[in-house]
Amino acid sequence: MVTGPRTRRAGDMVTVAVPSGRLLDGAMRILEASGYLDGDAWRGSRRLIVPGVEPAMRCLIAKPVDLLTYVEHGAADLGIAGKDILLEQGRDVYELVDLGFGTCRGVLACPARLAETWERLTPLRIATKYPRVTERHFWTQGRPVEVIPMNGTVELAPLVGLADGIMDLVMSGRTLRENGLIEIAELFQSTARLVVNRVSLRSRAAAVAAVIERVRATVARPEGPGEGLMPSREGRTPRA
């Protein structure tokens, strides 16, 4: 039983959920370039809620796997999330803007020694942080697969015989190379996306629409949202 008020938040405060980890810097830069955030307020800070430049705006910093939970339940009105997480979790949120940074690919990889026999292995054992995406992929291929869900250092699994291969994100491909893994197939391409709660889009329409428009304008600027963050053109092309 819950006692006391359980309403979301008072008034017109707009909350943006920002992922910790590899997308944090890019996300904060976009919000900074859009005039919502003062860089000094978050750099070097350990606070999980960062006040915005405007009093009616704040950011919360969430683990990437939890981020869409905040947005779907409306604890945050907007969020910045990788397409990889969106594909894996399939949440009820509006995906509105491709932010163009955090470009990476979801690939299947296996140890070089298995590359020859890969097509004949059955059932394949795949270690991954993306069990749903992986299962869906093999389901559409009609191939039996045993997915082994993991939370980190997925590359280790095939090296010690836990799995035949992995499905994981790659940026440069260096981690794969250093662990003797070779890419078999690409399952998806990912960039950071701006997502919105379906009720916030309506109940806080004006404030939320303003954020969307300013972020969209920032991303569309030819010089990009900040130095060192130049997204590649291909990264900005939306992909289903």
Partner: protein
């Protein structure tokens, strides 16, 4: 020092106990994931909200029907397409037939109208106005905001007319239903599936791409949609209209929409919505409704207007509905229809969280029997109940003083000991009074058949 250590040990013991309890919790103590119990206070609010909506609907001429919780899987697949079984809670009947728990009531009502009310439906008695209240079920594992797999719904269907007036009635009734259910601050977002269809029409999408577009729409993935249209070299104005969709809401939305549509069907949609807006103003609900062309509903049987009710306090829609002109066709009766349903669990969340559901209920009086006067006590309780008081009869066999003290402690306004010919009444902290039985039950006899008195009108009479 010592106190601190004791505290620490107590804490360890407590933690140990808690973990033992958790570990030994057995299945008979649990309920399936995605279901929940409703304790008396919440159950009363749910029941109150449902009856409030049904009573309001009855004043608009909507009569309640009750359909089975179970339907044949074929019925639901017929209505919701081949993808439906993935979302359904399925069972196997003794003869091997596939059954499913209803995922909503609209399909059941459509089946009922087509099979049981066929004569009515084909006769001059259209339109048919139907209301319902009941539990609905989803089979998908609980995830995110959709964590309940069973929840209560109440709703209405208006079957027969294809007019703007019918749509206006359903939208106005939805507003009235939200108010009857006790939601104070809410807004209704009103869109039309035809607008999106007109944007996508004429793109010559292959069947696969069409399916991909629908999947992207249900996922609300506008980035993916834009990308798909770009790859198809869709005209720039189509892409613009599509990407503008999530922002097409508010007073100027229809003007903007009129600028963005390029097909006759699209212009019809905009014109219909304009006329609907006028009709809603006539119903006096224009303030509660906002045009919002980005509404995407979870069921894909909708063919016309679609709408959802929101409140800022809850992150998911409280209810919604729309026009579904081809659903009844699936059951052999080609009738257009429009309707809505409220999710009562979310409606209650919008009103604010329930207070402690285990909090004791207090009757207006407790009645105990003096030695050998059980019949008189029961008759007294009957008489008081018949005039609208809530009465708890003493069933623990405790002595009178204990009964009266316990009643006072629980905040029950009065305790009555019924003897032969007379009763002893204790009220609040006051001294005991003797009241003749005839006087005590006179109120009951006078009040028989009358409506329960309002709480503030209750004192008086024999008390």
């Amino acid at each position: 020092m010592l106190g601190c250590r004791e505290c620490f040990i107590t804490l360890l013991l407590y933690l140990g106990k808690a973990s033992v309890q958790r570990d030994t919790r057995e299945r008979w103590q649990l309920i399936p994931s995605g279901t929940r119990d409703w304790l008396p206070r919440e159950a009363a609010r749910i029941r109150g909200a449902a009856s409030g909506v049904l009573a309001e609907a009855a004043r608009w001429g909507y009569r309640e029907v009750v359909t089975p919780t179970l339907e044949y899987l074929d019925v639901l697949v017929r209505a919701e397409g081949a993808g439906a079984p993935d979302r359904l809670f399925k069972l196997i009947d003794r003869g091997g037939e596939l059954l499913a728990l209803r995922p909503d009531m609209t399909t059941s009502v459509a089946r009922l109208v087509a099979t049981r009310l066929r004569d009515v439906a084909s006769a001059a008695s259209l339109p048919l106005r139907v209301a319902y209240a009941g539990q609905v079920f989803r089979g998908a594992p609980p995830a995110g905001a959709a964590r309940l797999r069973e929840f209560p719904q109440v709703g209405c269907e208006l079957i027969g007319p294809r007019t703007v007036e019918a749509d206006a009635e359903i939208v106005a009734l939805t507003v009235a239903a939200f108010r009857a259910a006790g939601v104070a601050a809410f807004s209704l977002s009103l869109g039309h599936v035809g607008f999106l269809q007109s944007v996508l029409a004429g793109l010559d999408l292959s069947e696969d791409d069409g399916a991909a577009v629908r999947a992207l729409l249900y996922q609300k993935d506008f980035v993916g949609l834009g990308g798909l249209l770009e790859r198809h070299r869709a005209p720039a104005d189509r892409i613009e209209a599509l990407l503008a969709l999530p922002a097409l809401r508010g007073p100027d939305a229809l003007v903007e929409a009129g600028r963005l549509v390029h097909t006759p069907e699209g212009r019809d949609v905009v014109r219909d919505l304009e006329r609907l807006g006028e009709a809603l103003a006539a119903h006096g609900v224009a303030d509660a409704v906002t045009i919002d062309l980005s509404i995407i509903r979870d069921f894909d049987y909708y063919t016309g207007i679609v709408f959802e009710g929101h409140t800022a306090a809850v992150g998911a829609p409280l209810g919604g509905g729309g026009r579904y002109d081809r659903l009844l066709e699936q059951f052999g009766v080609a009738l257009p229809a429009t309707g809505f349903a409220l999710r009562l669990d979310r409606v209650l969340a919008a009103e604010g969280a329930a207070e402690d559901g285990a909090q004791a209920w207090t009757p207006d009086a407790v009645v105990a029997a003096d030695a050998g006067c059980g019949a008189e006590a029961a008759a007294c309780a009957r008489a008081l109940r018949s005039c609208g008081f809530t009465v708890a009869l003493e069933v623990l066999g405790r002595p009178w003083d204990e009964v009266a003290d316990d009643a006072a402690r629980r905040g029950v306004p009065r305790a009555i000991l019924v003897g032969r010919g007379a009763a002893r009444v204790r009220e609040g902290g006051n001294a005991e009074r003797r009241v003749p039985l005839s006087e005590l039950t006179a109120t009951g006899r006078r009040g028989t058949g009358a409506r329960p008195p309002a709480p503030d009108a209750r004192p008086g009479g024999p008390w």
